[in-house]
Amino acid sequence: MRCHPPRQTDLRPAPAVSRRQFLGAATLAAAAAVARQAWPIPAATPTAPEYRIEIGEIDWELAPGKKLRTAAYNGQIPGPLIRFQEGKPVTLEIVNRLDREEIVHWHGQWIPSAVDGSMEEGSPMIPASGSTRIQFTPRPDGLHWYHTHAMARRSLKHGLFTGQSGPLYVEPRANPGQYDLEQFLVLHDWEPYYSASDDGSLMVNYAAASINGRMLGHAAPMQVRASQRVLFHIVNASATEAHWLSLPGHQFQVLALDGRPVPTQAKVDALRLGPAERISALVTMDAPGIWILGEPRATFRSAGMGTVIEYAGASGKAQFTPPAHLNWDYRAFADPVPAVQKPDVTLPLVFTSRFEGHGALDRWMINGKSWPDAASILLHTGQRHRLVFDNRSMDDHPIHLHRHVFELVSIRGAALSGIRKDVVIVEAGTQVEADLVADNPGSTLFHCHQQDHMDSGFMALFRYA
């Protein structure tokens, strides 16, 4: 039953997976075949798990001579690509080989609290050297991910600082775009360390970065041909860092944010992904050459955040030129004319921090309270709740709501509609409003997705009345 997939053959930049090979006629049956390739399905019995995740320590080589020891799923970084079919129940066995409790969160899935993978919601922790078996029905479709939801606290060797994350793709009933190749990219930062930030508080920096577990220049290039359309599914699995990605000479046509299709499939020169954000974007390969798809900021690119894309027949060194400007505005992908919806309930959520010393992490608060002292926020089934994210701190925050999506309705006072997400970056000193229709009863965790922030109190629990 234990199925160790071939290492990352379906995740690394090369060889790219052809749509024909992987999706055939884009039927769900073909998608299931892909899942079998990565995670073979054992002989079926009524109770047999179809998937097995094994959490364990591994030695991983980001680049020749650049090794690290960390916890990961099924012995690889990132964890194997999991493909589910929307609406088809799945059974998973999760085995924890670590000497500490762990938990796996199914980020972006609208599933019961008991299996969502958050201790705060009531999902049980998996004991050290123990295992658990869970069952749920995947929904919604699109690009999601699975990752540890364990606290790291002051340790930089636990939680999302480890390699415990992997892409999850729930096959859509209809493809959001026409494409020839499909490529999953998982961004991660490594070798974290504390340093003083410009605002005087402690922050986390990193010595290395990777895409699909490899530093720039140390993975086989992704091979493409001129005029091919490549659908990139990108997950930012960094514990704390937002990342930009650009591909010189090319534009990204954004099809979906956090797995939800966008109303306006705008083209942009660079993508920005906060921690836990996902983007599905189409790139038409119309600039032959050898290029770096990577972080436009040299600091991160030199740390390893990039991968090489090589056109057939091209030769020479991989080239990179950053875009002239790094602009990102969710509104570019929204309805051309914002639709106005009246909320039933308005819930102000004020984000502040308390200084704990230049050598300590700030204490984070929602409405003046830190987790676990924060009061629960009541939701009313079927009602539209307007969440007012009021960030009064000096940091940007990737705000995440479990088990639901919210629709962005204003950013810095400017109205928008049609963007449904489960993570949104609320920039320092700004307000973002988002509407949540309460349609998935159960305890629901709300938090900043920066590991150090959530570990320092930036969490609250939504409960259904």
Partner: protein, 281 residues
């Protein structure tokens, strides 16, 4: 009090860049044989170094202002520190994330002499990069400089300063066990002098940090001076963290030993200029 042999003389500076008048005093001691005390006179830059370096593509400009309200009086060939005002301009350029170079312009103003240029020093510094994830901050500074003979018979001096610091919650600790050497002047044969400095402070708020800075000169590392003849100085000091671009520090120094100026008021104001592109999320 017994006289001090030349190699027993404490170095008259605290942290200093400029040890000028100490050397002159040492020379006097050499001539007088029995002269007991080296006087603290080189208070041009009074600062305990932290391990951080200035970031690349940034320049730090600092003004160190030190006023000796109760120092030693003038002696033949040696200006007084009493009521002397020392102004030092320090310009530090970040090279990369583990090195910087600093440059100093020392000046002095006192009754009868007016404003005088004293000398210049250059100070390269390297640090253990943060990405090495050491449990403490570590850097190493070395400083070479010239000062006019009018202010220091030792016209060329060199200093090496290991720096270790640690921030833990609201507490901050730093030690600078500096070693000093004269390259040209009467002290050239004195060998290495030991001039440690240390700091402990507490973050009362995000913007206000208070604590103590300690500066000393124990004389030659091979012949530690008697306590009476050592330089010992304690500064209750305040740091104001009003902005990442500004550095503000001030304190009042108390020197209990005979070899130390008894009261010094010091202030540092610094402004960081960033030349690189602004980091964007």
């Amino acid at each position: 009090m017994s006289g001090l042999a030349a190699h027993d003389q404490p170095h008259p500076n605290l942290t200093i860049k400029e040890r000028s008048l100490k050397v002159r005093l040492i020379a006097l001691v050499l001539f007088a044989v029995a002269a007991p005390i080296a006087r603290a006179q080189g208070n041009y830059e009074i600062q305990v170094y932290g391990a951080d370096t200035v970031p690349p593509r940034s320049t730090m400009v600092e003004l160190h202002s030190n006023f000796t309200s109760d120092g030693h009086l003038a002696t033949p060939g040696l200006a007084a520190t009493n009521h002397a005002e020392h102004e030092t301009v320090e310009i530090t350029q970040g090279i990369n994330d583990w090195s910087e170079v600093g440059f100093y312009i020392f000046t002095s103003e006192q009754s009868g002499l007016g404003v005088q240029w004293v000398g210049d020093h250059i100070r390269p510094r390297v640090r253990v990069p943060e990405k090495w994830r050491w449990p403490v901050g570590v850097s190493l500074s070395t400083e070479v400089g010239y000062q006019r003979a009018l202010f220091s018979p030792d016209t060329w001096t060199w200093e090496i300063r290991p720096i270790v610091d640690k921030t833990a919650g609201r507490w901050y600790f730093a030690v600078n066990p500096a070693l000093e050497r004269t390259w040209h002047g009467p002290d050239v044969n004195l060998g290495l002098g030991f001039s440690p400095a240390a700091k402990i402070s507490y973050d009362f708020t995000k913007k206000i940090t208070g604590g103590f800075e300690y500066y000393a000169d124990y004389g030659s590392i091979t012949h530690i001076a008697s306590l009476h003849d050592q330089q010992q100085q304690l500064f209750p000091a305040i740091d104001l963290n009003i902005s990442p671009k500004w550095e503000i520090n001030f304190g009042v120094g108390i020197g209990p030993t005979a070899a130390t100026d008894h009261w010094i008021v010091k202030g540092i104001i610094g402004r960081r200029f960033d030349w690189g592109k602004k980091k964007t999320l």
